[in-house]
Symmetry: C2
Subunit: 417 residues, 2 copies
């Protein structure tokens, strides 16, 4: 089945918001094995919306619209879609009841708020339509399935649209399209994209089902394997040999095969498994490593403290980097990175310490020590490893890469224990 995504909203056409809804819906349709050939964005204008919807219905089997279902005069998606599908709008008692309840609660917490008649517009639904509950707002979603065409209307705010799609639309479309697309992602740290690509060139060139695609992320490469089959189990079986081959080639560089697991989650899990505690000592990253660790709920089991030793004085006073080292080799040096990590272990009693010092730019670079020169250090059970990095890009990019590389180094050192 061919699907078209139609996003309604003048704010998208003004460039005020990025159309993340279309990306989400397209990705979900790909998972369902639906072919998305077009995405269209149109403003809150009845004539143009009508033209876009008629065009979409003429060239696609399924049209998924988001936005324009709210209570205001501007919100016309439902009216235009019903006209295009030859449907009448009638009031739905259950929806009306849900809106009444929602408004009652709203007025309780917003005394003085006046409920206008506009709100009841949202209880009008297509005569032969399927109503989709909205657990996070007042506008219900709608499905009109008629004359071999399916029109799906969803609210615009992602917080309302996504759970509605996931819980109600996905199963509906899945029942119409027995073949599914199953994907799994292998996340690799510590190797650049060009290295990974050349290492799997033969697999890329000979791919059929499953397919393989590489995605470069900051300091990571993700490999996505996708198979088409009638059931998830069958798809998984198809993917298995390629996954095993990749595991053989990349070994422990694959830090997870779980779509939702981040590098910081993998690192926290590893430290927990080994019952080890961590201290961070950051200069140019300014706390971004500890902030990433704290992204993980339950990080308090492993991260006891972190230091942002931005000045030389702080490097000396807080973690005992010697003034001689700072004078002789400078704040951005292998020696300083080493002493930062070792000093942090000594002063805090942590099992591991991770340090970063570098020049993130745009200022501060010299010929000997250019912008992008970064040292990362990891001291772990009596052994310290320091890596010299030569990074490119702007300040943000250099700092983000430093964080990713430092987490990778930490993972490497802890895995050896």
């Amino acid at each position: 089945m061919i699907v078209e995504i139609v996003s309604v909203g003048t704010e998208i056409l003004l460039g005020n918001i990025v159309n993340t809804n279309a990306a989400y819906l397209s990705e979900k349709c790909a998972e369902l094995g639906l072919s998305c050939y077009y995405q269209t964005v149109v403003g809150d204008n009845e004539d143009r919306m009508s033209e876009v919807m008629e065009n979409a219905l003429s060239r696609s089997d399924v049209v998924i619209c988001s936005g324009g279902l709210g209570p205001t005069e501007d919100d016309k998606t439902k009216e235009v879609a019903c006209k295009a599908m030859g449907e009448q709008l009638v009031e739905d008692g259950i929806t009306r009841g849900r809106i009444e309840e929602y408004m009652e609660n709203y007025v309780k917490s917003n005394p003085g708020y006046i409920v206008t008649d506009n709100n009841w517009k949202q209880a009008m639904v297509p005569e032969h339509g399927l109503v989709l509950n909205n657990d996070n707002g007042t506008a219900p979603g709608l499905i009109i399935d008629k004359d071999q065409k399916i029109m799906i209307l969803l609210p615009g705010p992602p917080i309302e649209m996504k759970p509605m799609f996931e819980n109600q639309v996905f199963p509906y479309l899945h029942s119409k399209q027995p073949e599914i697309i199953y994907s799994t992602t292998l996340k690799i740290c510590g190797s650049g994209e060009s290295y990974v690509e050349s290492a799997i060139r033969d697999l890329i060139d000979s791919q059929t089902n499953p397919t393989i695609a590489t995605y470069a992320k900051t300091g990571e490469v993700h490999l996505r394997l996708t198979a088409k089959a009638e059931t998830e189990e069958e798809a998984k079986e198809l993917i298995k040999p390629m996954r095993q081959e990749l595991e053989k080639r990349f070994g422990t560089y694959i830090y997870t095969e779980d779509e939702d697991e981040t590098l910081e989650m993998a690192v926290v899990k590893l430290l927990k498994e080994k019952s080890m505690t961590l201290t961070t000592v950051e200069s140019c990253t300014g706390g971004a490593i500890s902030a990433r660790i704290v992204n993980v709920s339950g990080a308090s089991d492993v991260l006891m403290q972190g230091f942002v030793t931005y000045s030389n004085e702080a490097k000396h006073k807080l973690v005992g980097v010697s003034n001689e080292t700072l004078m002789e080799f400078g704040a951005v040096s292998e020696e300083t990175a080493r002493e930062m990590a070792e000093g942090a272990v000594r002063t805090t009693g942590s099992d591991v310490a991770l340090s970063v010092t570098g020049i993130a730019g745009p200022g501060g670079g010299t010929k000997e020590k250019p912008v992008g020169l970064v040292y990362i250090g990891c001291s772990c059970k009596g052994e310290t490893k320091v890596k010299e990095l030569h990074l490119t890009g702007n300040r943000t990019k250099i700092r983000e890469q430093s964080v990713a590389q430092a987490l990778t180094l930490l993972r490497e050192c802890v895995m050896k224990i």
Copy 2:
């Protein structure tokens, strides 16, 4: 003039990438006073591209395409656009020379790379087209201006597309459209969106030229004033009275009127002006405040160090929060936030210290201290101010809001000095 944005790329239709190019181009067109009525995305398929381009040319004056200009077989945007505009492709000597030079350098740093004939495809340009230099890649951009229609072809990678648009396409379109749109943004911290909106309801209701729009950001509200006029000076004059009115209403809550200035930049600037040094002491934000401060190039003048005191022990040992306070009031309390800030000033000798302690969730909440309870403290020249926050949302959202509110508190306290 009516403009349509056409994005070419199967990866967008698969949901693998979010279409940020369309948002960028739409925003720029709005600045130029062009009306964007449609955005369309189509895959790398000649028939469908052709259909989309013909449709776009029939309903718009300007069609801006991005993507599909590369050297591979898949890249067909130029060929399809030329057919739609009735143009022949001819080789352009200058472009050929540029590509040769680029490839020569590329081979130098990638020995063994074989330059295939595909690359010369990029030197083919429309007979009556205008060639746009690409300083960041090999594919040139193109403008075909013919029979009252303008077709603009840009490369897909944002790093190539954006400077090309900014430096070459923007001036070109501006010359075709004498009326310009000028916008300025007032950034407000320390007030919620609903408060700001109600405080300017009268201005919103009576807006004509300039218009006023509010944008909610984490912990901030941005007000965008937009005027239409023949020159930038005239537009600025139109905006002036409304800007003065807003300055009267929001006073020092407006932290900048500079589009590119962030809250952390404003804070660093303020500390520099007052020659004050800062120390951060973070618990639930885990270093995210110091990392935001270090976003600012030159932050080393004000930020000496930061502490991530994630465990109770670290709060006691690093900044001297008393064990009695931790026992009696708990780690998430007004008293602990106060002692964190005051202790940091005492132990480091900084002029100001900023502290945060709270429950970011999803675990760790109780009835008395629910998820979202956060205390921020600022100790500044002998005076300490602590604020209790009740935040909502997931872990990330609560931490981001805490960071923004803490920077706002810091700004308030330092401004009083």
